[in-house]
Assembly symmetry: C2
Homo-oligomer: 611 residues x 2
């Protein structure tokens, strides 16, 4: 069928062969998601799968060619995204090992770390942990409690957990498989606190016993992702050699002299964190894939399941009810939209990591990743839930895959950056850019921005144009105009409110807290706009784009109406057009999910039984 | 603290001692929710708990005094609601055994069934199933496939599963414990189809082996509620004696003569189903309790957890961020609101089942139960999810209770009536009532209503008043006016649209499908109104009522603005007032969740560890 093929091409983007390779692995017998294993069995299965993938060379795609890789972050993320259609514990295990652990060595370490470790990481000879989060600090990484004090006498760092809240927590690979950890700790060198840095710390010997001074504990069963062995780590004055510091952004000389090419400690910290952005981009892509699996299940169910109907006739298909169309089709259109936005995000990631990208491009990537990750993971949670409900009792059986999809993706909204915190990060960057337009650069973000001075220009700008209430609602230009207007208006008014608060002499933190919901909405509206812009200009996805756009406008119509940007009549027209688009897309809905290319193997709902 | 006590009194309503009795049972060691058991262990534990409750006489509260009960449906539902703070598998097991199985015998059977079975049901000597749902039919019960054909030669009914889609599915107690089932089947007597009726069919012998002609299968692990043994049942010409027909609404004489006091088969069917409404009311109450548990966990976490903050100072409590207040406080206010609405629902249930209530009261109860159950169970799903996210990684551990809360309550949105179908039922009744106001009674519901004729009057009514854009947003009267306006406007315009569609000669089913989203919104707005009305007039809950009301208006402000019922400025004032109310309630938030009276025993999050 032509439609499916055209759509598949658009969805698969630049790397169809990478996707097909993973699809074909998932389709092999034995590689379907596990839904029936005990904790330890599941962990063992996941490890074995990861080993198989690594033996096929599929786990180093993002690493440099000299270490067995293909030097392609974009293909690496694309493969990861596709793997997310299968067992999500396997996905996260791979993310921890090859993405976070290996990625930290790659991006924060230097040549000798790469030379010594990267091959073993890719081959899983050296299973490792990314020990950043602590019980007391998840989002605010700058305030971590673990310390790494340099002892010039022995040329070692002493890694220590000073109090209970500073234990490393929820660390993947820590409970069972990890042999080494990248530990994020407050570096103390030359008698001074130098901020958070990362070091390599061995945690288990070759027999799997924990090393002296290292205490390990299993986090035990989790809500989901039980094939991943998350654990806790305490360090009791554990000594590691000086060269274990991942020293791309800072070095400590034998005598304890600290040097970093980035003088400002906050800028240094955010630069280091910034290199780890691939994890966030990967989770974003994975969540979109999970939504595709859920939609494929729910749409196919709705195309065979009948319930109620006109008297005396065959019962109607669920898919023919408007409520059911409303439930599934906007979510389907949004999933397409986010797929295209994800492609753009992956392209930007590739540019930043394979070219000599400047700060502006890096910050642009950071903003986009933060925004798309938040929106995509919330979308996945919501979509999987609505799809489960749309399948009724059948969707509640563990065999239906909804159990795993729901449970496993749940944490996507809070790991690799809590969504609320990420939207704030995006907002901070957008406000900084906004200020840039007036000639001020403040890379340190919102707090400083709020505390800044030269905002006078803001109030002198001409008021935002009010567009006339016209234009075809189905045209891309009209849709973009509406999205842009909402974003500009939200951002400008947020900036004004912040400025007003500061001008009145209130303390910056409380000014910021007061505007927090407004600031978040500004970021959200920007993501909406970027997502809309990402749609390819292709008649095959015109109706999907309109449905995404108008459904988004419908949800925000209170804002448009409040500000006179939509009239009451026009707003009602938006609602009607959403309904009309659902009806128009109804005949193609099977093709629309087929185009996702979810391997049949991973779709194992209880068979729909019909009379 | 005065606030907690006052609020607890309001929340506990008429039956504080019933609630406290269950709270005290839940607080006993060994009665905390199970989060670490294998499937069969969990099932065994749940059965043992249910036996313990029954040995204490707590499972027959709703049954007549002569069978060991207390004749109080209200107290029964209240006890059930409170039990929902604990292990939800136990709750659903009790619901299946004492509520659905026992309730069907009580309400559809007659004296000899009560005499013979009710004591054994209450004591769990006779574990039983409520075998209504089939693989092919969940919502549309009228179209079930199982048959029960009367054989006058032997004075027996022959119960049969004619095809695969007619197997009974997801039936609680069927996989392991059930000895007998109330089976819903198409009755065939005197050579004629008589519609769906219920009969008692033994399914297992005393040793637990399935009886001849009965095939039983375990549904296996589910997304949640794994302490309940759901299963499938097939009948192969199973014979049961004539007296096994639950014959309150229809009898079959020895010679096969069928008689029912309710002549109209559809009316008879809905009357029979109507008596089973307690299950729906119970699930509604249970979901509100589950939301209370989640909110207690998340609010307490937010009162100890600090993250980020003003430079150089202690980090700020999560609860002091506006985004966090926005996340939790409207959900908290809505939980209060739904608690009060649930009290009203339980009161109406009690009146209908303990007095000689007329059809009007019964239909009113049906509408209210359908509406509140939908809104409450969706609210619970949403609230539990937002609370999980608000607890970050700690909320993702299985020990945190969020795993069980999420998984176990998930099915509440689709069992005891799929929420979408229930909102349609509510809408049907509201539209029928609306028509009644013009002198037409059509108890058969929307389809017939749509097909009806005498709607002419509708178009002659005066247009809905447009109230002036005034009144204190925090006053109950202003809030009620706004809620009423929205509901009346939605209902009247839905009725007009339906009429227009019919007048144009289109077929009624497609007219209905076209208006489905509108009709559902009308029902939803009615539930909102009823919930708002249910708030006690007491200064202790004034701010909570305003927050619930204005947050609801905020969410629907697009509609108000579209129809000129709110001005842009007024709408912005609503948003601001929601923020202000969050800030005002902030100091009391600990007391607000303490007032829920969730036993400490069931709150077992991983201890918040602080520095």
């Amino acid at each position: 069928m032509g439609t499916t093929e055209t759509l598949r091409k658009l969805l698969d983007g630049r790397y169809p062969e990478t996707r097909d390779r993973v699809r074909s692995w998932l389709s092999e017998p034995g590689n379907a998601p596990a839904d029936d294993l005990e904790l330890e069995e599941h962990r063992a299965r996941v490890l074995a799968w990861a080993q198989e993938l690594s033996s096929q060379g599929d786990t180093a795609i993002g690493y440099p060619v000299e270490y067995g890789g293909k030097g392609s972050p974009a293909r690496s993320v694309t493969a990861f995204e596709t793997l997310a259609m299968g067992d999500l514990s396997l996905l996260v295990k791979c993310g921890v090992q090859f993405g976070l652990f290996g990625g930290a060595i790659l991006h924060l370490g230097t040549g000798r770390h790469h030379e010594r470790y990267l091959r073993d990481v890719a081959s899983l000879e050296l299973p490792g942990c990314f020990a950043m989060t602590e019980t007391g600090h998840g989002s605010n990484v700058q305030a971590l409690g673990t310390t790494a004090s340099y002892d010039a006498a022995t040329e070692e760092f002493v890694v220590h957990t000073p109090h209970e809240a500073a234990r490393k927590d929820y660390i993947g690979n820590a409970a069972r498989d990890g042999r080494m950890a990248v530990v994020f700790a407050q570096l103390i060198a030359g008698g001074e606190q130098r901020g958070v840095h990362a070091l390599l710390v061995p945690i288990r010997d070759d027999d799997g016993a924990s090393l002296p001074g290292v205490r390990l504990e299993d986090c035990g069963p989790k809500l989901g992702l039980n094939g991943v062995d998350n654990g806790r780590i305490w360090f009791d004055h554990v000594r590691v050699p000086r060269e274990n510091l991942l020293d791309r952004y800072a070095t400590v000389a034998a005598d304890g002299t600290y040097f970093s090419p980035i003088e400002n400690p906050t800028k240094r910290f955010f630069t280091m964190l910034g290199t780890l952005i691939q994890g966030r981009v990967s989770v974003s892509g994975a969540s979109i894939s999970a939504a595709k699996v859920a939609l494929t299940l729910a749409v196919r169910h709705a195309l065979v399941r009948r319930q109620f109907g006109p008297p005396g006739e065959e019962e109607a298909l669920l898919m023919d009810y408007r409520t059911h169309q409303r439930r599934l089709l906007p979510a389907l259109a949004t999933t397409y939209a986010l797929s295209f936005a994800q492609q753009r995000l992956v392209d930007e990631l590739d540019v930043v990591f394979t070219t000599d990208a400047d700060d502006r491009l890096r910050r642009q990537l950071e903003t986009l990743a933060a925004g798309v990750k938040s929106v995509a993971t919330w979308h996945a949670s919501d979509t999987i839930q609505r799809c489960r409900e749309a399948c009724g009792g059948a969707g509640y059986l563990r065999a239906s895959r909804f159990a795993a999809l729901k449970a496993d993706t749940d944490v996507f909204t809070t790991f690799e950056g809590d969504n609320t915190v990420l939207l704030q990060l995006a907002a901070k960057n957008l406000l900084t850019d906004y200020k840039d337009a007036f000639g001020e650069l403040d890379p340190l973000g919102l707090a400083q921005f709020v505390a800044g001075q030269a905002w006078g220009v803001l109030t002198e700008r001409t008021p935002l144009r009010k567009l006339v209430d016209g234009g075809d609602l189905r045209s891309r230009d009209t849709q973009l105009d509406l999205f842009r207007w909402r974003h500009e208006h939200l951002l400008e008014s947020a900036a004004r409110r912040l400025k007003r608060g500061l001008d009145s002499g209130r303390d910056p933190f409380s000014v910021l807290v007061d505007c927090q919901d407004h600031v978040l909405e500004a970021a959200r509206s920007w993501v909406d706009l970027v997502v809309l812009e990402s749609f390819p200009i292709d008649p095959a996805v015109d109706a999907l784009r309109s449905l995404y756009a108008l459904h988004t406008i419908e949800a925000a119509r209170g804002y448009y109406l409040e500000h006179g940007r939509l009239s009451g009549g026009r707003s009602k027209e938006v609602v009607k057009t959403v309904n009309a688009l659902c009806a128009e897309l109804r005949p193609d809905v099977g093709a629309l999910v087929d185009a996702f290319g979810v391997p049949e193997n991973v779709l194992t709902p209880s068979e729909p039984v019909t009379a």
